[in-house]
Symmetry: C2
Subunit: 387 residues, 2 copies
C-alpha cells in the first residue's frame, strides 16, 4: 500500500425530499447565488420551483443561468463568470448532473481569477481561490458532487480538459433518489457505465498489497452491476435509485483508490472521443474500457482473474488464467450491452477518421495510464480493438 | 435505505514515517499542547522521542500526561483537565490507541466546561465546545482516531459510559503501520475483534434495501478476517498492518452504517463486562458477540444467511437457512478462537456473580439494540449463552 492522505470535506445530505431544504444549506455560505442548471425539464417537472421556493424562504437572492449541455462548454462558463462579477455573486448552486456541477466549478474558479479560467484546464496552473459550490444532484454518474475535479469542453479545438484541486470539492451535495425517476434510458445507461468506470480506474492498479481497497472496490462494483439494470427496468423505484446514487457517490469520493496508483487512461482517451463526437462520457467509456482491458490485461493477468472471479463470479478452471480474465472482460462488455450501450465505434456510428488525432491528443507529449503506460501507438491499438 | 447525512472531517495521514511530521500538523492548531499517552513503552521504543523532536522542530511547547490505561479512567481525565487549565493548553495530542484517544477527547470536552465532564457521559448533555484533538495511532482497534465517540470508565460504580458529538472528531489522525510491529498478541487479537465488531454492529440491521452498504461491510469484514491472523503470525509485516490499520479506520469512520439502523447492543453489553472485570473491550466482544448472534439470528435469518454465504463462504444447501446461519456464527466464534481469544465467560475466568447487575445497567430504563430490542431478561439470556 502506498502512503496517502484522505479527507473528503463535502457534506452529503441523502434522502427523500432533501432538495426542498436547500435554502438552509446555502444560507450558511451566501445570500446572493448563481442558480446553474441545464434544460427546461427541471422547470416543467416542478423541481426548480421547489428549489427556488426553498431559496426564497431562506432569504436568498438568486440569478438563473440555465443552458448547460452534456460535455459542458467553456463559452457558457465565460458567461457565468461575467454574470457573477456583474451581480457580486459569491456562491454557485449547481442543480443537475456532472456537466452542470463541472460547469459550476469552472465558474467558481473563474470569478476570482484575473486570467481566462481555461488556463486551469490547459496548463499546470491551479486556482488559488474559488467561490464555494453547492449541489442538488439529479443524475448519478460523474461523482462530481463530492469530487475535486471538473471537466470542460473548449469548442475551439475541440478540447475536453480537466483539473483537480482541493478547492473544487463542493461544500455540500444533496442526493435525493426521487429526482432520478424521470431520467431517460440513455442517461441511466451512460451514468451506470461512468460509475462502474470510476471504480475500475481505481481497481486496475499495479500497486501490490491493496486488499482492503480491493474489497471495497469489488463490493461497490457488485452493487452497481446489480442495481443499474434494475433502474433501467423500473426507473420509479426509490430503493434502486438509492443504491445507484450512493454507489455513484462512493465510487468517486476518493476513498476507493487510497493507497494505490490509479489508472485513468480510459477516461483520458474517452475525453478525446467526446470532444470529437460529443457523445456522453459514459457512452464513450462503454466503448473504450473493454478495448483497454483486452489490450492491457496481460500486464497483470492475476488482477483481471481476481476481478472476474470475485466481482463477476467467473467459475472456470484456474489452470487457464487467460480464459478467466477474458471471460471477465466479456461479461463487462455484456453488461454494457445489456444497458443498451454501444460497445464498439461502429455500433455508435463513429468511423476511424480521427483515430490519429485523438490518440495524439490523449497522450500529449507523454503517456496515459499506469497499469500499462500507453503511448500513441498503444492508444491507436485500443481504438482498433474498439472498432 | 434511510435518509442520512455524512461528513467525516478527520484528515487521515497514512503511511511510513508519518508520525515524524506530527509537529507540522499540530502547528496548524496550537503551539501549547498536552501530549497524552499510556505507558513507558512509547519512551523505550523511541517513538515518543521522534514525536517530541517533531514538536520541538515546529516550535511547539508540550506538557506530558502519561498513564492512560485500558478502559481509561475518569480520574486521569480530571487531572488532564486541571493541567490544561493551569498551563493554558488548547490542543490535545493523543499518542496511542482507543483508550488514549478517548481520554484525550474527554479532557478536550472537560477543559472549556464549567461542570464535571462526566456529565456528558452520564446524561444527555453534550459539550457546546471542545478543544481540538490530534492523533498518532499506535493500536488499530477502536477507530476512535476518526470517530465522533469517546468511552470512559468511572471507577465509582464502576460505570463505563460513552458520548458522541460532532465536536469529538479529531482534526487529524496519523496512521503509520510501522508503529504496530511491537504490539503484543493479546492486543492484536482484541483489536481485531473490536474492528470486526464495529462492522458487524452496522451490518446486522433490520433496515431493508441496503445493498451498497452491505457490500462495503462484507468487503471490509473479509479484509479484516484475512489480515488480522497474519498480523498475529508475523507482526513485523508492514503490508499486513497497513490492511488492518486501514480496515480498522474505515470500519468506524461512519461510512459503513449510512442509510441503515445500526445495532450496538453487543457494545453496550460488553461495556458493562469491562466495567466490572476490566478486561479489554475487544476481548469482551469476542465473548458477547457470538452469544448475541445465537440469541437474535432468527429475528431475520436471511441476514445471517447472507453474512455466512458472502463473508464466510458457507456453502450448504439453501433449503436449511438455519443451518447456514448457525455455521456462519460458528465460524465467527472459530475466528475469535483462532486469535487466541476466549469466547465464553468461563474461558475468561468470569463467573455469573454480576450477570444481573450487568444486565440491569446495560439496559438502564429501556432496551438495547435494534436488530432485536433487548430487555434485561434478553441480556441475561445472552449471558447464559456466553457462559
Amino acid at each position: 500500500m502506498l502512503n496517502f492522505e484522505f479527507l473528503n470535506p463535502t457534506k452529503i445530505i441523502f434522502g427523500k425530499g432533501s432538495h426542498k431544504q436547500v435554502g438552509q444549506q446555502v444560507a450558511q455560505y451566501s445570500h446572493n447565488v448563481l442558480l446553474h442548471y441545464g434544460g427546461t425539464f427541471l422547470k416543467s417537472s416542478g423541481v426548480l420551483t421547489e428549489i427556488t421556493t426553498s431559496l426564497k424562504q431562506a432569504g436568498i437572492t438568486y440569478t438563473e443561468l440555465p443552458g448547460v449541455v452534456p460535455n459542458p462548454r467553456l463559452s457558457l462558463v465565460h458567461q457565468g463568470v461575467a454574470l457573477c462579477r456583474e451581480k457580486n455573486i459569491d456562491f454557485i448552486l449547481a442543480v443537475g448532473g456532472g456537466s452542470v456541477i463541472d460547469s459550476a466549478k469552472a465558474i467558481a474558479a473563474g470569478v476570482p481569477y484575473t486570467g481566462d479560467v481555461w488556463d486551469f484546464y490547459s496548463s499546470d496552473k491551479r486556482p488559488e481561490t474559488m467561490l464555494p459550490v453547492g449541489v442538488v444532484l439529479t443524475i448519478p454518474a460523474a461523482g462530481s458532487e463530492s469530487s475535486d475535479g471538473t471537466v470542460i469542453t473548449n469548442q475551439q479545438g475541440p478540447y475536453k480538459r480537466s483539473f483537480v484541486s482541493p478547492l473544487a470539492f463542493p461544500k455540500f451535495a444533496m442526493l435525493n433518489p426521487e429526482l432520478c425517476y424521470t431520467l431517460p434510458a440513455n442517461q441511466i445507461a451512460a451514468g451506470g457505465a461512468d460509475i462502474l468506470a470510476h471504480v475500475m480506474e481505481r481497481y486496475f492498479s499495479r500497486t501490490p498489497n491493496t486488499d482492503m481497497s480491493d474489497r471495497l472496490c469489488e463490493g461497490t462494483m457488485k452493487a452497481i452491476m446489480s442495481n443499474v439494470p434494475k433502474a433501467l427496468q423500473n426507473p420509479q423505484n426509490y430503493d434502486t435509485w438509492a443504491e445507484v446514487m450512493w454507489a455513484g457517490n462512493v465510487a468517486h469520493n476518493g476513498l476507493l483508490g487510497k493507497g494505490k496508483q490509479e489508472d485513468w487512461a480510459s477516461h483520458a482517451i474517452e475525453h478525446e472521443v467526446s470532444a470529437q463526437y460529443d457523445i456522453a462520457h459514459g457512452a464513450g467509456l462503454a466503448i473504450i474500457f473493454p478495448a483497454w482491458m483486452k489490450y492491457v490485461y496481460q500486464e497483470d493477468t492475476s488482477r483481471f482473474v481476481q476481478f472476474a472471479v470475485r466481482v463477476l463470479g467467473v467459475d472456470l478452471p484456474y489452470q487457464n488464467p487467460d480464459a478467466i480474465a477474458l471471460e471477465g472482460i466479456r461479461r463487462v462488455e455484456a453488461f454494457f450491452k445489456s444497458l443498451g450501450l454501444a460497445t464498439t465505434f461502429t455500433q455508435a456510428g463513429i468511423g476511424d477518421e480521427h483515430f490519429a488525432l485523438m490518440a495524439e491528443r490523449a497522450c500529449g507529449n507523454g503517456t496515459q495510464g499506469s497499469f500499462k503506460k500507453l503511448n500513441k501507438q498503444d492508444v491507436m491499438a485500443i481504438f482498433e480493438l474498439a472498432k
